[in-house]
Amino acid sequence: MRTVVIQPEYEAWRSAARQLLAQRVPPEDVLWADDAQESPLFMQEEPAQMAAPAAPPVKVPPAFLDLARSAAAHTDARRWAMLYRVLWRLTLGAERHLLSMPTDPDIRQLQDWCKAVGRDIHKMHAFVRFRLVSTHPATGREQFVAWFEPEHRIVRLATPFFEKRFAGMDWSILTPYECAHWDGTRLHFTAGVPRSSAPDEDAQDELWRTYYRSIFNPARVKISAMQSEMPKKYWKNLPEASLIADLIAGSSRRVQGMLETEERSVKPAPNNAYLQSLHALNQQQKSVTPDPGLP
């Protein structure tokens, strides 16, 4: 049994896995541990001997690399071992078709992790809220800071999206474990920071809440539909979420108001040349085509 301690990153796992595979170390003989984690007691006995001879290149389907990169961002401690086992089965285990087997428990597990990671990335793209903090004195570029709490280690996977979208402004996205910064030329990463490092409010938040309040239709309340897409755990960092309770509470009163309003009678058409031409056109068309809309 050997223990492999790696930085919790895809690249670290990949180089370790490549060497283990070259040495034909079967998955059941490896114990994987994150460098950041509490070490198991027996770890000191045998630190991994990683100065391996040049290994023959191992070929895996490209789809596996994508799967591995994404699953590696998950926080489940079993991911390294699972990835190595699947790598082993795909190569030395001669199960080349394994990735086409969504019914295989290992593949299923990896896909579940990828799905969770993909969802986390998507929610980060959706729920990051930038706050304007200053304007760069020399370049005149606006500078924004956002705070986000991802569930998994996705900052490096999720931020290229922001680089493409917000190239014209400077921004930082702060998270508890890693921060990303863009200055117009380069995306770089620094260590995580506490919540208090990020600004709380933006001057536009109030206008945004006005929009959110106005676009809500009180006549069709579907709270569970909202919560399945925007779970409560995200609410604390969304400026608009503070309105939700009041909007729900006031909705039936507002609908009642609508239903109790006296109906308005029809106003005759004003003397407008455009409207008159439209009505004349409609009359004409009515006499030609009976009903073009019905298939």
């Binding site: 086409s100 428990p105 990051v128 917000f166 006005t210 909202m226 039936s252 298939p295």
Partner: protein
């Protein structure tokens, strides 16, 4: 009137348009520019309101003043709402401010018709032009167009927008004559035909080798139909949608259940349709587009309305039991797609897996299929549904929803529903 108050009025006025898609645009982004914005790939929903709808684009009207008198619409000229009007610059600024804070994917701009179709269209286009040309905005823009506007203006709108749309509103001219006397279905269809022509043209030019890149044009068009404001059946609505999909290759048809508005009109029905009807129409629409169903199979002339209690695929399966059980190890894709509870993606998974193994129930459970739903309709290496009674009368009852539960109410006493008010008002039980 300040911008906050205008936003309040003009967002409120725009909320009855159900479209929110921000997907399907051409790939573009802001790298190398001083602007912001990117599109292409999946659209993003940046928030959700308690009505369960997503907030993706900033959806506003340029003005809610309108010459038309469409009775289902809160902005019709007979309505007594407060009117407001944005200047193009105000909308531009709001869009940029909201976009930079990552509240939105872009702008959905529509407008009440003032003075004439062309005049209104010009104002709407001016907003999009400024965003694109002055501010280098590369985010998503959806412009609502007016069928009566000149073709040149619609073409110009398409240059700046990622999506353009015209609402058909109601599926027959007969209904429009009563409820929207200014609208005409033939003219709307004609305008959609022109837009399709433009989209196709640009697509064809892009594929020609050795030619300069053609100017941009919107990549798709969509429309909306109102449900429950007239007496149209689901068969009529779906028939109209199906015709629009095939004739004008629309990206989406949105169905919007008519809901009570603050300024009700005297000629509208008192009762709003149940929201579930809208949901069933979307499910049926999905079956038409991705599952190869025909309109007559889902909503036949003899029963033209969808079953509100069961989803349309399940409902079809119960009426066509002779097709089942389907053998998941042998059946072709088109038959697997007909199994209630099996979606497109799971069908692909099953097809992939069965090349290497004979599927058993344990495999299906591992895929987390909805076992209760699919079991009566499939057979596997170790399962045949005969004993579950594919022929029995009680099969339908197995799928009916349990007695209704109240939604969580944040501590408030159970609120009366809109139906309660209607019955109180009309004296109906």
């Amino acid at each position: 009137m300040d911008v906050t108050r205008k936003l309040e009025i003009l967002a409120d006025a725009a909320k009855y348009d159900a479209s929110c898609a921000s997907s399907g645009a051409a790939r573009k982004d802001s790298r190398g520019s001083q602007g912001v914005g990117s599109t292409g790939g999946m659209g993003i929903c940046h928030s959700y309101t308690p009505d369960g709808r997503c907030v993706s684009l900033m959806k506003v009207l340029l003005t809610n003043a309108c010459l038309y008198d469409c009775h289902y619409c809160i902005n019709r000229r007979s309505s007594n709402v407060t009117r407001a009007r944005f200047t193009p610059d105000e909308v531009v600024q709001l869009t940029l401010d909201f976009y930079k804070r990552n509240y939105i994917e872009g702008l959905f701009l529509s407008s009440g018709i003032i003075r004439s179709a062309d005049h209104t269209m010009e104002l709407v286009i001016e907003v999009a032009r400024k965003l694109r040309e002055v501010h280098h905005f590369r985010g998503y823009i959806h412009l609502k167009t007016i069928p009566e506007a000149s073709q040149d203006l619609i073409a110009l709108a398409g240059r700046y927008a990622d999506r353009i749309s015209i609402n058909v509103e109601l599926p027959s001219q007969h209904s429009l004559n009563t409820l929207a006397p200014e609208k005409n279905l033939a003219r709307t269809q004609q305008a959609m035909g022109h837009i399709r022509g433009k989209i196709d043209e640009r697509h064809a030019e892009k594929r020609k080798p050795n030619t300069p890149k053609p100017p941009p044009f919107a990549t798709g068009q969509s429309t909306q139909m109102l449900v429950g404001a007239d007496a149209s059946t689901d068969a009529t609505i779906l028939g109209c949608a199906d015709q629009l999909y095939s004739a004008h290759r629309l990206r989406r048809v949105y169905y919007s259940a008519f809901s009570p508005i603050p300024e009700p009109s005297a000629i509208l029905p008192l009762k709003a349709p149940p929201l579930i009807r809208e949901h069933r129409l979307y499910q049926a629409d999905w079956l038409l587009r991705f599952y190869d169903f025909k309109v007559e199979e889902i909503a036949s002339p003899s029963s033209p309305n969808l079953d509100l209690a069961l989803d349309p695929k399940l409902s079809w399966a119960l009426q066509n039991r002779a097709t089942f059980p389907v053998d998941v190890n042998r059946a072709p894709r088109e038959l697997l797609l007909r199994v209630p509870g099996l979606g497109v993606r799971n069908v692909e998974r099953l097809l992939a897996a069965r090349r290497y193994t004979r599927l058993r129930l344990a495999d299906l459970i591992r895929l987390r299929l909805q076992m209760k739903k699919i079991l009566p309709f499939i057979s596997t290496a170790d399962h045949h549904p005969a004993r579950l009674g594919l022929d029995s009368d009680s099969l339908r009852a197995r799928f009916l929803p349990p007695p209704e539960q109240l939604e969580i109410n944040f501590g408030a006493p159970p609120a009366p529903t809109p139906a309660d008010f209607i019955s109180a008002r009309s004296g109906e039980l």
